[in-house]
């Protein structure tokens, strides 16, 4: 089983909350709300292990106490559910006698804070809270559960460390800031993969203007290790966003089958090829900017702005980006087996440039959160006669709570799946 190593991206899970974190050094800490976790004890432990948060010190912060914790690998026994520990049984029939006057809890918040410093075990704290609640035992089981869940969430002291997967990452990214992945929701991502037909065979073309690396990562994941498929990943910035790709920790051979190139630069290479060579090389300089994770400006970078990954190699030959452009141009000449686009720019001109690079009878998938835009693109594509079987779709997705006598759809749902325009190229 895989073990946690320095340099890994890890997923930290505390109950239903998950977070993607780089375990960059032994000094690294992770922040979950007011809790700061020292990560060093994770080293060489197997993934999926659970750790106990042990308070080391507590500092007054702007919004209440900030606590520093070390992590201790814990046994399965420690993981009995808090509900088991408390073993609540007495339950009122309904809540007719509860009046919500804010005085139901006899403990003051200062008492609770103090108690929390003293005993770090959430089950103990919750036990005390329950003891001191005047209304707890008169609540219905449903409302007891809600109360416990709320308290558990606040005081739960265990975290699990998991290996990042596409499934875990799309949840994290979408929850934290859907805009950073252009609003691509899990159902939509899953359909982009289906409709584009990404798999272990074939050569694929992606244009995206910033999804934290989620789209190239998902496509690479579906291309698999030890296969022959290749991906040309075009982006509008100086450097591609790659966080999700790096987090997957793919074998090098698989990583190298994703060729990330700047849209403008690679199209110039493709259109003009050899003519270009001498000019570009002389223009080269060594100034680099490292904003790999940040959203880069979507303008054509002049060559000198390019990041030089291996500046030590500068004297030995053409820069890496130029080699990548050449690799990409070769694949562009051979044409691709599908096209995926998620553009922040107007898709028309990009589509006009990329559509001729796709073989006939191949799927194209265009994502946008703006329906009006895709309606227009639909009409444009239809008019060209180059694409058939055009469909504009969106999704409605809802999760369910399935519990004895309490089964219903979750009360909150996500409102926007975004839209997919799909079709097949013709000869």
């Amino acid at each position: 089983m895989a073990v946690i190593q320095l340099g890994d991206y890890i997923v930290i899970q505390r109950q239903k909350y998950t977070k993607l974190q780089k375990f960059g050094s032994l000094d690294a800490t992770a922040t979950l709300g007011k809790e700061h976790l020292e990560l060093k004890s994770l080293l060489d432990q197997p993934y999926d292990s659970t750790f106990k948060m042990c308070v080391k010190e507590s500092k007054a912060g702007k919004r209440g106490a900030q606590r520093q914790h070390s992590l201790e690998l814990c046994s399965e026994n420690e993981l009995r559910s808090i509900r088991d520990v408390l073993n609540i049984s007495s339950s009122g029939a309904d809540n007719r006698d509860i009046s919500d006057n804010g005085e139901a809890q006899a403990l003051k918040s200062s008492d609770i804070e103090q108690m929390r410093e003293a005993c770090n075990e959430s089950s103990k704290i919750i036990e005390k809270l329950v003891e001191n609640s005047k209304t707890f035992h008169t609540r219905t089981e449903y409302s007891q559960d809600k109360y416990l869940l709320k308290k558990e969430k606040k005081y739960f002291e265990f975290v699990q460390i998991r290996q990042p997967t596409i499934r875990l990452m799309v949840d994290i990214f979408h929850r934290q800031d859907a805009d950073k992945i252009m609003g691509i929701r899990v159902d939509t991502l899953s359909q982009i993969i289906s409709y584009s037909g990404i798999s272990g065979f074939g050569s694929y073309l992606l244009y995206e203007s910033g999804t934290n690396g989620l789209l190239p990562a998902a496509m690479l994941n579906s291309m698999g290790a030890a296969t022959d498929s290749t991906l040309v990943h075009m982006h509008p910035g100086n450097v591609p966003q790659k966080q999700a790709v790096l987090a997957l920790k793919l074998p090098l051979e698989q990583q190298q089958r994703c060729i990330s190139v700047n849209l403008y630069s690679v199209l110039r290479e493709f259109y003009q090829g050899d003519k270009l060579e001498t000019v570009e090389v002389t223009e080269e300089s060594v100034k680099t900017e490292d904003n790999a994770i940040e959203q880069s400006e979507d303008i054509e970078p002049s060559s000198k702005k390019f990041k030089l990954d291996e500046s030590r190699n500068l004297s030995k030959g053409p820069p890496r980006w130029q080699l990548e452009n050449k690799r990409a141009a070769t694949l562009m000449n051979d044409k691709f087996d599908s096209l995926v686009m998620a553009a922040k720019e107007h898709p028309s001109s990009i589509l006009q440039a990329l559509l001729p690079l796709i073989k006939p009878s191949r799927p194209i998938v265009i994502f946008s959160t703006c329906k009006e835009l895709l309606q227009e693109t639909y009409m444009e594509l239809k008019a060209t006669g180059k694409v058939t079987n055009l469909h504009l779709t969106s999704n409605w997705m809802r999760t369910y709570q399935i519990l004895p006598n309490r089964t219903h759809p979750e009360v909150n749902m996500s409102g926007n799946s975004g839209y997919l325009l799909t079709g097949y190229t013709l000869k």
Binding site: D94, R96, S99, T140, A178, P236, L263, Y264, L267, R268, Y271, Q272, K275, L276, V279, D298, I299, E300, S302, K344, E345, H346, S348, S349, I350, Q352, A353, T369, C370, K371, E372, L373, R398, T399, N405, R406, T407, H408, P409, E410, V411, N412, M413, S414, G415, N416
Partner: protein, 316 residues
């Protein structure tokens, strides 16, 4: 008194909706003074993020007017069930306009209708029933929570609706809707944790000439049991549904239109300088008027179960 019928000017004692923004509305009582916690009579000042409002100043003002706050302004609107639902003091979970509208439609409530409701809760749905059935119908509304029943009764009176409603404090699941209400109702509405227990009482309350029934339940199991009860008693047209309203947030989006054609041209040193200046110019932008839902939507409110009691079913 501002719930009875449309009116043009704010009178003393009216409930008034102070509209600050789409997300900030408050129901205030148009009285010049209030009694504070110490029992002293003081001027009625209402605090908002845009400063304070001396409530006396709005009495006599036309509804729909703009009123000045110490650091901004607001609109005064006449309350109605929609605005009240958005501003009322929550004493319980409430039902919102999309479900309520379907309930009124399916229960065929119109002026003259006699409606039985349980529970009263925060009175949100009651206000809708009252608007729909007045001035010739009547609402009988039940709650097992005494304080809530009292509050609701008082509220209806202050809202000018007292003549059209009777509020009962009663455990209808165990005790039914009182024998006075046998056979008087055109429609019965239940929002109870165990609606199946009240179905036989609903059956009794409905007119011999038949009527409509609705139960609102958050869980599917409650609906299942309720339907079993309805079938046993001969209800027909049993139908369960969900209604979810989606708001569209309207915005203009600007997308840069990028030029890729020039990349086909050789980049001479002369042309190059032109390209560079081009790249720095503001690009062409195309504007779209578009809309999207809020990131988080209500995914579930409740299951609405409707049924018809056909005429002439013996109630022995």
């Amino acid at each position: 008194m501002s719930f009875l019928k449309p009116k043009t000017h704010i009178e003393q004692g009216d409930i008034v909706i102070l509209y600050l923004s789409v997300n900030s509305m408050h129901a205030i009582e148009a009285v010049p003074t209030i009694v504070n916690k110490k029992g002293e009579t003081i001027a009625h000042i209402f605090q908002t993020p845009y400063g304070s409002l001396k409530v006396q100043s709005i009495i006599g003002v036309e509804y729909g007017s703009r009123v000045e706050l110490s650091k901004g302004w607001a609109y005064v609107l006449q309350p109605n069930p929609e605005l009240w639902t958005q501003t009322l003091p929550h004493r319980t979970q409430i039902i919102y306009t999309p479900d309520i509208s379907m309930i009124l439609h399916q229960l065929e409530v119109r002026p003259g209708a006699v409606v039985v409701e349980s529970g009263t809760g925060s009175g949100s749905l009651s206000h809708y029933f009252l608007r729909a059935l007045k001035p010739t119908g009547h609402l009988h509304t039940f709650d097992f929570h005494e304080a809530r029943a009292d509050q609701a009764r008082d509220e209806f009176k202050r809202h000018g609706l007292g003549d059209f409603v009777t509020v009962y404090h009663r455990d209808v699941c165990n005790l039914g809707f009182t024998s006075e209400l046998d056979g008087v109702a055109d429609a019965v509405f239940l929002d109870l944790p165990a609606p199946d227990l009240a179905v036989p009482h609903a059956f009794k309350a409905l007119k011999l000439s038949g009527g409509r029934f609705c139960s609102f339940s958050p869980c599917i199991e409650q609906s299942q049991r309720c339907i079993n009860g309805l079938i046993k008693l001969g209800f027909t047209e049993i139908c369960s549904m969900e209604v979810l309203q989606q708001e569209s947030v309207i915005k203009t989006r600007s997308l840069p239109v990028i030029d890729l054609e020039f990349l086909k041209m050789p980049k001479s040193s002369e042309a190059n300088s032109i390209d560079d200046s081009k790249a720095k110019e503001p690009k062409e932008l195309k504007k779209y008027l578009t809309s999207s839902c809020p990131q988080v939507l209500p995914g579930h409110t409740g299951f609405l179960t409707f049924a018809t009691l056909p005429p002439n079913i013996p109630k022995a």
